[in-house]
């Protein structure tokens, strides 16, 4: 085990992070066990291509600084009856029972290298709890500002008939290393939208495990935008265990310069009569490298499932590379499953069409590239977030 990590899990350091957490959901013994587990497990991600430079099973943790890096997120929430929206330490102190109920429903840290690491070293986090039949009418914003190594754990739990939108913003200082977990769990007929906007500096690293387990007749929407960091590793899952669920995974990323992005999404339909939609738009320029693996798994008895996967990748330089792999495993016969994937450069006919109207070629390319992301940007909550994403994309194509 790397020495920086070993130091991080030393009892003195753990106490400095979130000691109250240990009393409720995770104690020092379990942290140690998960940490060991993290180094036993393989990431399960092979190097996607020959230009891909980073081995996810041999990340360099020794340079990480984990002392004094714990930072509670800034949380902005509207008023709503019974709503809990606080940092994890406060939640553990004041809402221990609720937190214990919600923790670990969707994410199985024991089975996932990076979720195990994030849980073992958790030094920041947020807890959002929405009571039954409460509609939180404005999005809750959770802003993490990472210094050194940050291991944020964000939990959203919506009871029967509740609805909420959460926007997670991840920014940080140079060299920030962020390894986090986000999980969503709901009761019946609930609705949760969870948007994540990662804008770390260009030498940062971001590793996120995100999973949702919606209740019967519930809607769950993931919107994940990975813009910054030199390395982004994401997994975005929805586990469908009930009927009547409507789940969406929306993801966009755009490596440029030497950025690497590796995203895997999985919708696991274990029960039928539910639907899911996965939409991924990615672009790469400079020496940007990306790999996307889109899994749709429909269990043999999950009849009546309707599931689609749309994945488009745009290459804006000859040295950029995107590997895009849709993977459908369909065990049931009475289902509707669609998938479509494209990888390509900007279309010459589109550019010619725009230039024939007087638009300069560089501007035409920019408009087309930005337009390419619009169908997925349109699914992100709030105009302010959409505008921030457009600005970030525009900076990348400039």
């Amino acid at each position: 085990m790397p020495s920086a990590i070993a130091a991080a899990v030393a009892p003195a350091n753990l106490e400095r992070t979130i000691d109250s957490l240990d009393a409720t959901v995770i104690d020092a013994e379990r942290r140690k066990a998960l940490l060991a587990r993290s180094f036993e497990l393989r990431s399960g991600r092979e190097k996607p291509g020959r230009y891909w430079k980073i081995d996810l099973d041999a990340l360099d943790y020794d340079r990480l600084s984990t002392t004094g890096t714990a930072t509670a997120p800034k949380i902005t929430a509207p008023q709503a009856r019974g709503l809990v929206a606080c940092d994890l330490a406060t939640a553990a102190r004041e809402h221990g029972d609720l937190l214990a109920r919600a923790f670990g429903i969707a994410v199985r840290a024991h089975d996932n290298k990076f979720a195990a690491l994030a849980t073992a070293l958790c030094n920041a986090g947020a807890f959002i709890y929405v009571p039954a039949d409460v509609a939180v009418d404005e999005p809750i914003e959770i802003a993490y500002d990472a210094r050194g190594a940050l291991f944020p754990y964000t939990i959203v739990f919506a009871e029967h008939g509740a609805s909420v939108s959460v926007i997670e913003r991840i920014s940080g200082q140079n060299d920030a290393f962020v390894c986090g977990v986000s999980e969503i769990a709901t009761g019946e007929s609930a609705a949760v939208t969870y948007a994540a906007e990662q804008q770390l500096p260009s030498d940062g690293q971001a590793i996120f495990t995100r999973a949702a387990k919606p209740g019967k007749d519930s809607n769950v929407v993931w919107c994940v935008a990975d813009m910054g960091a030199r390395l982004t590793v994401g997994s975005i899952d929805v586990i469908v265990e009930y009927s009547g669920i409507d789940a969406q995974i929306n993801s966009l990323f755009f490596p440029r310069d030497d950025q690497h992005v590796d995203v895997v999404s999985t919708v696991q339909h274990n029960v039928g009569e539910s639907q899911s939609q996965t939409i991924v738009k990615s672009a790469a320029t400079g020496r940007g490298q990306a790999r996307y693996l889109g899994n749709i798994r429909i269990a043999p008895h999950a009849q009546g499932t309707e599931s689609s996967l749309r994945d488009d990748a745009l290459l804006l330089s000859t040295r950029a590379h995107i590997d895009s792999v849709p993977a459908l495993e369909i065990g049931a016969n009475d289902v509707k499953a669609y998938h479509g994937a494209t990888v390509g450069a900007l279309d010459d006919e589109q550019i010619f069409y725009m230039t024939s109207r007087g638009i300069a070629p560089a501007d035409a390319e920019k408009m087309i590239a930005l337009g390419f992301f619009e169908p997925v940007i349109g699914r992100f909550p709030t105009n302010a977030l959409r505008e921030r994403l457009r600005a970030a994309l525009e900076a990348k194509v400039s």
């Binding site: 279309d347 010459d348 006919e349 589109q350 010619f352 069409y353 725009m354 230039t355 024939s356 109207r357 007087g358 638009i359 300069a360 070629p361 501007d363 035409a364 408009m367 087309i368 930005l370 337009g371 390419f372 992301f373 619009e374 169908p375």
Partner: protein
């Protein structure tokens, strides 16, 4: 003293003037010496059977990268078009209505029109006035304002695409407009709508000055838009010119008769 006349426009330079244009695509010689002059404020029809080179002419004029001009000249009010990239040709005042306009998902019609108008006429309208112009043109063309919020040609029917080309023509107000088979693939109602929209534009102050080159296989759009001159193209050459009556003759007799006559002349 009048030694530097490269930027000057004398009355005789006025027009979209094509001289002995030879051009092709993928190594095939298609245009074999086209001579044609489109005058401001006039409607020229360019007719010809399939494969005669009409679309090659349209793309050569606008500078499509797949089309190679071998020799000849094209000037727009005295300016050498062939020396310019496509965007500069548009700025010079040329417009092509595409037979198959590209769909560009994610780019809204309103934003595209604004970018294009800004490109060809930088800063001439405030956003508010631009919006007013858009609304006025939509009304002239009897188009629904919801068009503006849709993605460019994305999921448009054939008729909607042609209507949008006409809207662009109206908003960009070019000096010369080349309409490439704008009538193809349209049903009778859509064809009438397109014809009426061209006529409506021709009644506006700017439209009165616009020179039109309407490229068509069938004479039927010319029942809605009366041409001042008809040019007939075959095998990469203009073989016959005449008045609107020539289009009616083609309607009655087809192209074969004209082909025979031109071959006898040759």
């Amino acid at each position: 003293m009048n030694t530097d006349s490269s930027q000057a426009t004398s009355p005789s330079d006025r027009g979209l003037i094509i001289r002995d244009l030879r051009a092709g695509v993928a190594g095939n010689h298609i245009l074999k010496g086209i001579n044609l002059q489109v005058e401001p404020g006039r409607v020229h029809a360019l007719m010809g059977p399939n494969g005669s080179g009409k679309s090659t002419l349209a793309f050569s004029l606008t500078g499509h990268p797949n089309y190679q001009v071998e020799s000849g000249s094209v000037t727009l009010d005295g300016q050498d078009l062939l020396a310019l990239p496509p965007d500069k040709r548009a700025k010079a005042g040329l417009f092509l209505s595409f037979q198959y306009p590209a769909a560009i998902p994610g780019v809204k019609v309103a934003n595209f029109l604004h970018a294009a108008r800004q490109a060809v006429r930088p800063g001439d309208l405030t956003p508010g006035k631009f919006r007013a112009l858009l609304m006025e043109k939509l009304e002239t063309l009897d188009m629904d304002p919801t068009f503006l919020g849709r993605y460019l040609n994305d999921g448009f029917s054939g008729g909607e695409k042609k209507r949008l080309e006409m809207l662009q023509l109206a908003v960009l107000q070019p000096k010369y407009a080349v309409l490439d088979e704008t009538d193809s693939g349209l049903d009778v109602d859509a064809l009438r709508a397109v014809g009426e929209s061209i006529n409506a534009l021709r009644k506006t102050d700017e439209g009165k000055q616009t020179g039109f080159l309407i490229i068509t296989h069938y004479p039927r759009i010319l029942q809605h838009v009366e041409p001042d001159v008809v040019h007939v193209m075959m095998d990469g050459r203009i073989v016959k010119e005449g008045s609107a009556e020539l289009a009616q003759r083609i309607e009655r007799e087809g192209y074969d008769k004209i082909r025979e006559e031109s071959e006898q002349l040759a």
